[in-house]
C-alpha cells in the first residue's frame, strides 16, 4: 500500500474518531464504519442523510445509529462500500503494525500478531473490529513495558484506541439513563424536549416544563458527605416519578437539577404538579439514621410553557429564569414564568 494512501486512510480514521467523540456517539465497530465512510466521502446518500441529522441537532441515539447502519451498510448495493470500509479500517491498523516492524524485535512480534489479526476474514459487518482493537490495546500495553523502540506514531495510535475503548464503555453505560438515579439523562431530555415540542407545534396543545433544584444541596454534601447527597438525589428522583403521569418525562438535567416535561399541561396545571412535588417531599422525607440528623430536603421549582415558533433554548431559558426567581424569593417554592 503506497504511503500516500496510508496517510489518507489515517486522516480519515482520525476524523472519524474525532466526530464520534464530538457527537457523543459510542465508538462501536458499526459506528466507526459509518463515520469512516462519512469522512471518506464515498457514499453521497449517507453523507447527505447524516448532514440533515446534524443540521437538525438530532440526537444520535442507539436506534438512529442502528438505522444508519442497516440503511446504508446492509443492502446488497452497499455491501461493496462496506467491504471497502473494512479493508480501509484494517489498513489503518496494519499501518500501526507497519511502524512496529521497523522497531525492536519485540515490536516485530507485535507486528506479526497484528498482521495475523488483520488477515482474518471479517465478513461484511466489521463486528470483529472491536476484538481487534481490544487485542491491539492489550498488545500495545505489553509493548510499552518491554520496548523503548516503540515509535511515537504507534504510541499515539495505541493511546487513541485505548481512549476509544474507554469511551465505548462509558457511552454504553449511560446511553439514556442517569446512572445514579435511574431517571432519564440529559441526552434523553434533549431528544424528549424536541419530540414533545414538535408534537405541540403540530397540534397546538399545551406543553410545560419544570426545572427542579434541591435547596442548599452543597450544605448536604458538606455536612453529611457525598453518599448522603447521592441518597437525596435518588429520593428526589423517586418522588418525581411518583408525582407525574405516564406521558410526562422526568430527567436529571445535571448536578442537583431535574426536569419534568409535561405534555397537554398549561401554566396553572404545571404549577399544580410542581406544588404536588414540593408537598410530597415534605410529606415523605428521606429517612436516614444520621448524626446530626438530616435537615428536611426542600426544592425550588421554575415552570414555563412552550410557545410554538420560539427557539427551544428560549423556553428552557425562561424556565431557568423562573427557577432562579423561586430561589431568590426564599427557596422551597414554585415560580411560573
Amino acid at each position: 500500500m503506497p504511503q500516500e494512501e496510508i496517510d489518507k486512510a489515517r486522516t480519515i480514521a482520525d476524523s472519524a474518531i474525532a466526530t464520534l467523540r464530538r457527537l457523543e456517539v459510542p465508538p462501536t465497530p458499526a459506528n466507526y464504519a459509518i463515520w469512516y465512510e462519512y469522512h471518506a466521502g464515498m457514499s453521497p446518500n449517507l453523507q447527505r442523510t447524516i448532514d440533515v441529522l446534524i443540521s437538525n441537532k438530532a440526537v444520535f441515539d442507539e436506534s438512529t445509529l442502528q438505522d444508519l447502519y442497516s440503511t446504508f451498510f446492509s443492502s446488497a448495493k452497499e455491501a461493496q462500500a462496506v467491504r471497502e470500509t473494512s479493508v480501509r479500517a484494517l489498513q489503518t491498523l496494519q499501518d500501526i503494525a507497519g511502524v512496529a516492524d521497523f522497531a525492536h524485535h519485540d515490536a516485530q512480534a507485535f507486528g506479526v500478531t497484528l498482521r495475523g489479526l488483520a488477515s482474518k476474514d471479517l465478513g461484511e459487518t466489521l463486528d470483529n473490529l472491536r476484538s481487534l482493537i481490544e487485542n491491539l490495546v492489550l498488545e500495545s500495553k505489553r509493548m510499552a513495558g518491554r520496548s523503548e523502540y516503540v515509535g511515537l506514531r504507534m504510541r499515539e495510535s495505541a493511546g487513541k484506541i485505548e481512549a476509544l475503548e474507554r469511551n465505548l464503555e462509558d457511552a454504553i453505560r449511560d446511553s439514556s439513563l442517569d446512572g445514579l438515579t435511574g431517571v432519564a439523562n440529559r441526552k434523553s431530555f434533549d431528544a424528549a424536549i424536541r419530540r414533545t415540542a414538535g408534537d405541540a407545534m403540530n397540534s397546538g396543545d399545551d406543553l410545560a416544563l419544570l426545572m427542579i433544584d434541591i435547596d442548599h444541596f452543597k450544605r448536604v454534601n458538606d455536612t453529611w458527605g457525598h453518599q448522603t447527597g447521592d441518597a437525596v438525589l435518588r429520593h428526589l428522583a423517586q418522588t418525581l416519578q411518583k408525582a407525574v403521569r405516564g406521558g410526562d418525562h422526568v430527567a436529571r438535567y445535571g448536578g442537583e437539577e431535574f426536569t419534568v416535561i409535561l405534555p397537554h399541561t398549561d401554566g396553572p396545571a404545571a404549577v399544580t404538579v410542581a406544588e404536588n412535588i414540593r408537598l410530597a417531599l415534605a410529606r415523605e422525607p428521606l429517612m436516614l439514621d444520621l448524626t446530626p440528623p438530616l435537615t428536611p430536603i426542600t426544592v425550588s421549582i421554575g415552570a414555563a410553557c412552550y410557545e410554538p415558533g420560539d427557539p427551544l433554548a428560549e423556553w428552557v431559558g425562561r424556565t431557568d429564569a423562573a427557577l432562579y426567581c423561586a430561589k431568590r424569593e426564599g427557596r422551597n417554592r414554585v415560580q411560573l414564568n
Binding site: 440533515v52 437538525n56 438505522d67 407545534m201 403540530n202 397540534s203 427551544l312
Partner: protein
C-alpha cells in the same frame, strides 16, 4: 420591507435589511420569491407564514398534498415547505407527483416534519427533497435551511 431576492444568495443580507440595516446594491425592482406552505396544522402554517412574509416572500398555503399539487400545477412556487403526515395526500406522495409534473423539478422542497428517523430522511432525499427540517422549528432554523436551498441552486 424588501422582498426576498434569490440572486443575492444569502438570506442574511435580506434579513439585515429588514432589521433596518440597508443592504447596498439591491435590485431596484425585484420580483419577490413565492412560497407554498403545505401543512395540515393551521398553527404551523401561521408560524411559517410569519417567517416567510417577514423575509418578503409571497406566501400561499395548502392543507394537504392534493391541494398543494393543484396550486403548483397552476403556478410553480419557488419554495415548498412540506409536512409529511397529512390527510388526503401526504408529503412524500405530493413530492413524487410534483417531480413528475411539467416544471415540477424547479421548486426547492424543504420537508418540515416531526419524523426524525433515518428512514424518513433518506426517503425524502431519495425522492427529490432539497432539504429536511425537523419540527419544532423557529425563524433561525428555517432560515438556515432556506439559505441552503437558495445558495445551492
Amino acid at each position: 420591507m424588501r422582498p426576498y431576492i434569490a440572486q443575492r444568495g444569502k438570506v442574511e443580507t435580506v434579513f439585515n435589511s429588514i432589521d433596518g440595516v440597508p443592504s447596498e446594491g439591491l435590485d431596484s425592482n425585484p420580483i419577490p420569491m413565492s412560497c407554498l406552505i403545505t401543512d395540515d396544522s393551521s398553527l404551523v402554517r401561521k408560524i411559517a407564514r410569519k417567517i416567510f412574509a417577514g423575509l418578503g416572500f409571497e406566501v400561499d398555503e395548502a392543507e394537504n398534498g392534493q391541494v398543494a399539487l393543484q396550486k403548483c400545477l397552476n403556478r410553480m412556487p419557488d419554495v415548498v415547505l412540506l409536512d409529511w403526515n397529512m390527510p388526503v395526500m401526504d408529503g412524500l406522495e405530493f413530492l413524487k407527483s410534483l417531480r413528475r409534473s411539467e416544471g415540477g423539478r424547479a421548486p426547492a422542497v424543504i420537508f418540515c416534519t416531526t419524523e426524525t428517523d433515518v428512514d424518513h430522511v433518506q426517503r425524502a432525499l431519495a425522492n427529490g427533497a432539497n432539504e429536511y427540517l425537523m419540527k419544532p422549528f423557529d425563524a433561525e432554523s428555517l432560515i438556515a435551511k432556506l439559505d441552503m436551498v437558495v445558495t445551492r441552486r
